[in-house]
Structure formats: structure tokens, C-alpha cells
Symmetry: C2
Subunit: 93 residues, 2 copies
């Protein structure tokens, strides 16, 4: 059987269950036991997905100048906003 | 039993196996079925890890200005470099 999924949330649970133990093997084989690396999985072209199938990047960060740089603009939200968002998520879980 | 791990590669496989199916439930509950989101897991303070235990960020990308911005400086490498790196990784797998 060949599975294909463009997006993370389309992958069957039994396939997802195998992915991180495999990624761990690769991280150790690359020699990342000292830490300083990122796991990144992108969904959708706006969110930096270039190849349209689910894959994880394991990105070593040997120095501040190398590896993954991130920016994460923060929004101002009120406690009420957060409470509403939490309620919406809880309803669906 | 309480497990604690600062780094991804320290997490036992049976715990790792549960993480992505759970993340998928959360992604769907947040309403990300249309795509445009990132999964990010950081290891080590230099690699943007702020809280010293393993956790995944699920980051919606509703517009180019919001959500995760990434930079990923590229290095010039020769085919021989790549071959050596592949050999080193394969030895350990």
C-alpha cells in the first residue's frame, strides 16, 4: 500500500506513529545527541511547504548563524479571546 | 510513570509514537484542515528552545505576515561532501 498525503493532518495514525521513532534514529545517526537542532514540518505553500507531500526536516543548529532562523510575530490578545479560543478547541477534542 | 526529556532524541519510542496522532487531533480541533500551518519542535537554547522539555508547536499561518517566518541560510557543498555525509549517516543507521 502506498499512502500519499500533502498535509500532516491527512496522514493515518498508524503511519504517524512510525514517523518520530524513525526521525529519532536519523537525529542520532547525524550525531545530534548534544542537542541544538530543530524538527520542522510545513503544511501549505504559504507556510513554506515546497514539496507537496508530508515530510519532516531535521535541521542541525551548529552555530547561531547556521541552521534554522525563526521569526514569530506576536499578537496582542485579551484573556477573553484566549478563553474563547480554548472553548472552541475543547469542543472539537 | 512520569517521563521527562529535554531533547527529542531522549524520548522513548512508545511515547514518540503517541505524539503525532495527538498533534493531529489538536490541528483538526484548531480548524487547520485547509492546510497552512507548521509543526515545530526545538532542541537546545541556541535552536530556539525556551522551555527545557520536549514539546511541539502547532503554528497556524493565516496570512504571510502572521505565524512562523523562517530563514534557512544555505551552504555551498560539493557532491563529495554530500557523499561523505551520507556515508557517515548510513554507518550509524
Amino acid at each position: 500500500m502506498v499512502d500519499h498525503a500533502q498535509f500532516f493532518h491527512q496522514v493515518p495514525d498508524d503511519v504517524l506513529a512510525d514517523m518520530l521513532p524513525l526521525a529519532k534514529k536519523v537525529a542520532v545517526a547525524i550525531g545530534l545527541e548534544d542537542g541544538q537542532y530543530n524538527l520542522l514540518q510545513n503544511n501549505g505553500p504559504m507556510a513554506h511547504q515546497v514539496v507537496p507531500h508530508v515530510h519532516f526536516h531535521i535541521i542541525p543548529k551548529p552555530s547561531p548563524e547556521e541552521g534554522l532562523k525563526i521569526g514569530w510575530p506576536q499578537k496582542q490578545v485579551t484573556p477573553e479571546d484566549l478563553k474563547k479560543t480554548l472553548g472552541r478547541i475543547k469542543e472539537k477534542l
